[in-house]
Point group: C2
Amino acid sequence: MGKEANGSAERVCRPPTLEDVAARAGVSRALVSIVMREVPGASDTTRRRVLAIAEELNYRPDGRARLLAGRRTRLLGVTLALNNPFHADVAEGIYAAAEPLGYQVVLSAITRTRTPGQALETLLSYRCEAAVLVGSLVSRKRLGALAERMPVVVVGQPSPHPAVDVVRAADADGMRLAVEHLVQLGHRRIAHTDGGRAPASADRRKGYRAAMKRHGLTDVSSVIGGGEREEDGAAVARILTEDGLPDAVITYNDRSAVGLLDVFARSGIAVPGQVSVVGYDDSQVARLPYLRLTTVSQDITMLARLTVQRAVARLENEPVAHREVVLAPHLVVRGTTARPATARESGS
Amino acid sequence: MGKEANGSAERVCRPPTLEDVAARAGVSRALVSIVMREVPGASDTTRRRVLAIAEELNYRPDGRARLLAGRRTRLLGVTLALNNPFHADVAEGIYAAAEPLGYQVVLSAITRTRTPGQALETLLSYRCEAAVLVGSLVSRKRLGALAERMPVVVVGQPSPHPAVDVVRAADADGMRLAVEHLVQLGHRRIAHTDGGRAPASADRRKGYRAAMKRHGLTDVSSVIGGGEREEDGAAVARILTEDGLPDAVITYNDRSAVGLLDVFARSGIAVPGQVSVVGYDDSQVARLPYLRLTTVSQDITMLARLTVQRAVARLENEPVAHREVVLAPHLVVRGTTARPATARESGS
DNA sequence: CGATCTGACTAGAGCGCTCTAGTACAGAAG
DNA sequence: CTTCTGTACTAGAGCGCTCTAGTCAGATCG
């Protein structure tokens, strides 16, 4: 005859459990579990009744217990750097792709005070079934140790380790697209601001060099270092302004393009009037109406979807053809590229 | 005499448990638990021995089981929008502040496909002990329901609900600082780009109006709407460029200042030569060497630290003087503000 | 009319921990 | 020799679920 005034429930009393719902409904715990999991084994009538009582008691299944009791956790762990817009976009896509497949996502942030190792440790402690590493630099050794325990998918950069999956865009192709676009517009002196030690930077640099070579522009090709942040692009812009402008610049990513464009704007250098600029990523920032940055799109949504697909395929032992999934990038032409002003001298 | 070749462990065999370590060490599970938790009750000798065996077996405590078995979870839940730099900074600070106090952080992202409600639901299901809501818009009703279950701290904006804690900066004071700085420099026509319906926008707008009034500048005060993104600032810049420039602009946040500055740069409007600009937040972007944005600092690190302190205080039943912790903002003067070029006409 | 089947439901054993209430056994005090 | 104190350790009961192996009606069938 306990009068459980749930409405005035204080924080003190613990949240209701399966047991409570079962008792109230006059059924077994197992049945309530069946209803809550929406698996077959209960009649429609009881299903509705149990659901109503659960609602009434404000019952919410205990994630910890579920994780512990189930034979599977269906948990996808993601490590990411919170301050990186590309990472954030990927994580968003992973959430969206995982939930329809019945997988949950758990994030573990890499920050100044929290190393990739710690972030991974946390994920492991929750026994997630697969690890998704978004553009973070984890040592080959650690990668190997991790891959021995669970499927690992590295996103957005190549990874040398034979045991990990990789989902990324073809960086060399992306650079080729950028170079070809600029060449077709009539540019020759096309510079590249690289990403230094940042993920995928090496591939993009190589792609740039190859593309320049193919167009017979090796002698005018120039790589200026480098980094992934706005200020890195800004620094390069200052160098270029002093040393003489090229016809066009392809940056390592959109972030560094932003810094570059800003310094150009302040120096009164017209884009695309005096110099064309191509970014990389097609992140949110490239679409800003006042920037309208021409950029190479990695199709982040697709990247995320394929990442989840791959992790799930590994978990469910589906056959996987290649360790690496490489997406074809495409160019998004916006407002920062145009024919050179002086270009009436057609042909080479 | 089973030969447990752990080195060649396949993914198939489950990770080792307390039991395994205990068996190997010839002690009870409870003792191993004591050692792993680093609580008193074991001799140094056994402690070392158990630790060595745990290491050898590559044992890692199971977070799910810990959470479930302990009388407390010591889990702090944080909901945040991944694409918001301010949120990311706060989350980073929360990690840093929580771990020394023995609390763990669990993130739950708000995305286009994941509502604040869903994000909260996830946190609840892991039975975190307190919820931290970073600048997200949760209905008053939902806030109330949540606060009945656990301590709730809202960060970076006022919240009307009497049951939730608030940690934020004094937005009106921040605007006062900005206005005073500009007035002292000799500006009169100081405009404000507001944040529209964004969190804290109302307070900043009010603070601006009050400060302008105090300086007898009501007739030249002007609020132009508004939004929290770069493009919102850019839109305002275009309006100002057409309708006539004020002496200075104070933006709702750094993001919108970035858009504003960019459009000014493109239109050949000199900052701070023709117009001074003050941002708000002192986020990473304000410190970019090519921007050097004068801005009102909320001291995000401190905001995060106080948020954690407050949540922990509630959990540990420490006395709490006021529901709201309001930090005094301060002005960070960088390169986007200066005396007006024509300012030799001293006095009013 | 007993044998078989099917759908709805239940009992109870875990999952890997934590934590309370103990036991065992030193050494010190009476 | 007993009693006491403290340290080192253990037994075992949970935490709130899931899941296997049932039970038990009632329908189906030869």
